[in-house]
């Protein structure tokens, strides 16, 4: 092996260590956050201890001394809590949280190449105070012993239960079904495989064998009773039986000591151990996961996208050749389509992450912000297991961080003000995620002062966003805070006034097709609800033709499709038209204008009534509707750059590219036309 390969391998192992650190830190954070709620919880302290311990173990193996030292100190203190010498209080939880943040920083420092990360001295002294307050603790061994301890375990496995090489007795009963033999399998193969795991005793139970005259040659009458003494786990044994499925009715139980005893049925043997450490690791194993490089899953999503495109190609060929949908081929293709859709949905869920990963980062933001603003805030997380596509999750972190900062800085009042208003001095910030009608909803709710419509209105006039006297309803006033250049707090604060306003929040949410709503009550608090799509890689859309070219419009923006009657369109200004819709009139945007073609208007037959999130409507005129389908979204920026009216594209059944219309762009056009008519007036 060349040196280079070796370094690569080491890098890979280091990367795995850092990945694991991230996981452990996330778990640590999760446990610590909930520890505050239920102070007496030995199980949680155990978990916390194990997290720190794992990090220490790995760190020692990689010679990351600072990390080893600090995690060892942290671990020693935790041990005092674990053994009951100290009991958990709110103060100690906050010390633990500080330590967790320090661990996070040290890990990050090592990850970025350096190792020079100093832990704040007061964090260390806080920790040490716990150690010194317990004088008779044997844990306080001399320095040498301490180091021995660390390096003694440096290469020892960190996961505790699974690896313990204890010999166990498993009793296994095999009842063989005729199907097992029909598949040409042989019990002998199984027995040989089992023997490979340890010592095997075999007994054949012939009780069910009938008299020779009654024997049915294709039936199977034998039952094997096996006793296996092995260091392997039940999972390893079960693996052997995986091949034969249900045809070999195998029951595996952890047997009692006595070998000669007939195996007594012990149904859930492995789970019945009482040592909490063991139990935890078994729990984890139940929801076993495989670590897969995300790029591989992305590749899968892409490949399935191509399958969908190919499927479209097959179907359009079938239509062209007039193959009937009821024909054998038609049925097979339809079945295939369903399979592909199912496959696609499954793979997309594989890429989904629980929103927990973002929420947990926010815990840190909340603590920092609360400290800086000298406010007391309790963070409540709900629905952290709600899963969101990775691509969305990545872009959700920044806007959420900003909104959480805002909620604490501007929403939640100082403890004194709260007390005067008769509220709990500790403010409540609730982050909630859930699914509703195919979209993910994330709510940020505070019980602070609420939005003040009058103040927002005045501020908007001052900032020349609106004109005095303009009549706006309450929701319209609230949405003013998303206007560029709006900020209700006069002085720039440390926390949220960093030149980034809510307009940026809204923009970044729009990039991921997110929508945001506000509800607020003065004195009671504010709730921001963000509605997000589950995935960005597939959209449902309508494919239409304009000036001979195919385009796609996302179906969730289309309110209605009506036949366009050009005689009803009326002139409302230079190149501007109106069109009747229900009991009112809409502004018209012609597709031909957007794509820059001059049209004789003869082909314009269809009107899409399009609505955006602000409930603005417009009439969009196209030539023809082709189909309604699901489209794989291709990002134009991957290989090119942003294009004005189309944010993305898709590939049609015939292999050609079709652009997906950016509905916000249409409303932008509307705005431009409105401005140009304002200029005309001037």
């Amino acid at each position: 092996m060349s040196t280079e390969e070796f370094t690569d391998d080491m890098d890979a192992i280091r990367q795995i260590f850092f990945d694991e650190c991230d996981e452990q830190l996330a778990l640590l954070e999760e446990e610590l956050t909930t520890l505050g709620e239920e102070l007496e919880n030995g199980e949680k302290i155990n978990t916390i201890f194990r997290c720190v311990h794992s990090i220490k173990g790995g760190a020692a193996a990689f010679g990351m001394e600072e990390l080893v030292k600090f995690s060892h100190l942290f671990e020693s203190v935790l041990d005092l809590f674990r053994s009951g010498t100290h009991s958990v209080t709110n103060d100690s939880v906050s010390t633990f949280l500080k330590c967790k943040d320090a661990l996070f920083d040290i890990v990050a420092a090592f990850k970025n190449g350096g190792g020079d990360c100093e832990v704040a001295p007061d964090t260390i002294s806080e920790l040490e105070s716990y150690l010194h307050s317990e004088t008779s603790e044997p844990e306080q061994a001399p320095e040498d012993a301490e180091m021995d301890d660390i390096f003694g375990m440096a290469f020892a496995p960190v996961k505790i239960a699974i690896d313990a090489p204890i010999e166990q007795n498993f009793s296994i009963t095999l009842t063989v079904t005729p199907e097992f033999y029909e598949r040409g399998d042989d019990v002998r193969n199984i027995l040989i495989a089992l023997e490979g795991l340890g010592q095997l005793q075999v007994k054949v139970d012939t009780d069910r064998v009938p008299l020779i005259g009654d024997i049915f040659p294709e039936q199977s009458y034998l039952t094997w009773k096996l006793l296996l003494v092995t260091q392997k786990s039940q999972v390893d044994i079960e693996e052997i039986f995986e091949w034969s499925g249900d045809d070999l009715q195998a029951t595996i139980t952890l047997a009692s000591e006595n070998v000669d005893d007939a195996p007594a049925p012990l149904p859930v043997a492995v789970e019945e151990k009482t040592d909490p450490q063991v139990r935890k690791s078994v729990d984890r194993k139940d929801s076993a996961t495989v670590r897969v490089d995300i790029q591989r899953i992305d590749k899968l999503v892409d490949l399935i996208g191509e399958l969908v495109i190919n499927q479209g190609a097959i179907q359009s060929q079938m239509r062209r050749n007039k193959v009937h949908g009821d024909s054998v081929l038609g049925n097979v293709v339809t079945a295939q389509e369903q399979l592909i859709h199912e496959l696609q949905e499954n793979v997309i869920t594989m890429r989904a992450y629980p929103i927990k990963t973002v929420f947990q980062k926010l815990g840190r933001v909340v603590r920092e912000t609360a400290r800086l603003t000298e406010k007391q805030v309790r963070l409540v997380l709900e629905g952290e297991d709600t899963e969101v596509d990775r691509s969305i999750l990545e872009k959700l972190s920044d806007p959420l961080t900003h909104m959480v900062r805002n909620a604490i800085d501007h929403g939640i009042e100082s403890p004194q003000v709260r007390a005067q208003a008769g509220k709990d001095p500790e403010g409540l910030l609730r982050l909630r995620a859930f699914q509703r009608s195919g979209r993910i909803i994330v709510e940020i709710q505070d019980d602070g002062a609420g939005l003040d419509p009058d103040r927002i209105y005045e501020k908007a006039i001052e900032k020349k966003i609106i004109e005095r006297g303009q009549r706006l309803d309450r929701d319209e006033i609230y949405s003013l805070i998303f206007e560029p250049g709006f900020s209700t707090v006069a002085e720039v604060t440390d926390v949220s006034g960093r030149g980034v306003g809510m307009d940026v929040v809204k923009q970044s949410l729009q990039q991921i097709n997110g929508r945001i709503f506000i509800s607020s009550a003065k004195g009671k608090g504010t709730t921001f609800s963000i509605s997000l799509p589950f995935t960005l890689s597939v959209i449902e859309g309508i494919i239409f033709k304009a000036e001979g070219q195919d385009f796609v419009i996302p179906v969730n923006n289309v309110l209605e499709t009506i036949i366009f009657d050009s005689r009803k369109a009326f002139h409302i200004g230079e190149g501007k038209y109106g069109y009747p819709y229900r009991d009112g009139y809409l502004s018209v945007i012609y597709a031909s204008d957007i794509i820059g073609a001059s049209s004789d208007g003869l082909n314009q037959k269809i009107c899409f009534v399009i609505e955006n999130e602000n409930e603005e409507k417009l009439a969009f005129i196209v030539d023809k509707i082709i189909d309604h389908s699901r489209f794989v979204v291709k990002n134009l920026e991957d290989n090119y750059r942003k294009i004005a009216c189309f944010s993305t594209a898709t590939i049609l059944g015939d292999g050609n590219v079709a652009f997906i219309l950016d509905v916000e762009f249409l409303f932008g056009e509307l705005l431009k036309k409105r401005e140009s008519s304002l200029e005309e007036r001037v």
Partner: protein, 142 residues
């Protein structure tokens, strides 16, 4: 000393070359899907095995006269991030490039040519402009 291999192609009746390591794929020319407000030299976007890739008319972008406007091939070039297709008149051959083959551009070359080309290669009497791949990418993404 052989430095590298280069792909030689023509725009009209003039030959050009790019380093072979940047070439991802060569395909016959196909019509791209046009889009509004595109720079004149961008023909549109094409689908290459599921990726949407812009197609740039290289002659037009470089301001090189392209007498016979017939385009026969698309050269797909890659940098570390993106893939862009360039339509060219024809793909000629792959040549070994020697360091001694390089000559600087004449003083009076147009700014465009100076931007896109880093010198002239004389390959057995043939005059080939060596094209800078990074300039091609910068130019295309404007």
């Amino acid at each position: 000393m052989i430095m590298e291999k280069a792909l030689v192609f023509s725009l009209g009746n003039q030959e050009f070359s790019v380093q072979i390591s940047a070439v991802k794929e060569i395909k016959g020319w196909a019509k791209a899907t046009p889009f509004p407000a595109a720079p004149a030299f961008v023909e549109g976007v094409v689908n290459v095995r599921g990726s949407v890739i812009p197609l740039v008319n290289m002659a037009q972008m470089m301001g090189v006269s392209d007498n016979n406007d017939e385009k026969k091939a698309i050269i797909f070039l890659k940098d570390d991030k993106k893939i862009i297709g360039f339509s060219v008149s024809n793909v000629t051959d792959i040549s070994d490039i020697d360091e001694e083959d390089f000559r600087p551009l004449p003083e009076l070359s147009s700014d465009n040519l100076k931007y896109y080309s880093n010198g002239i290669l004389s390959l057995g009497g043939r005059l080939v402009f060596s094209v800078n791949v990074s300039s091609l990418f910068e130019g295309s993404l404007q």
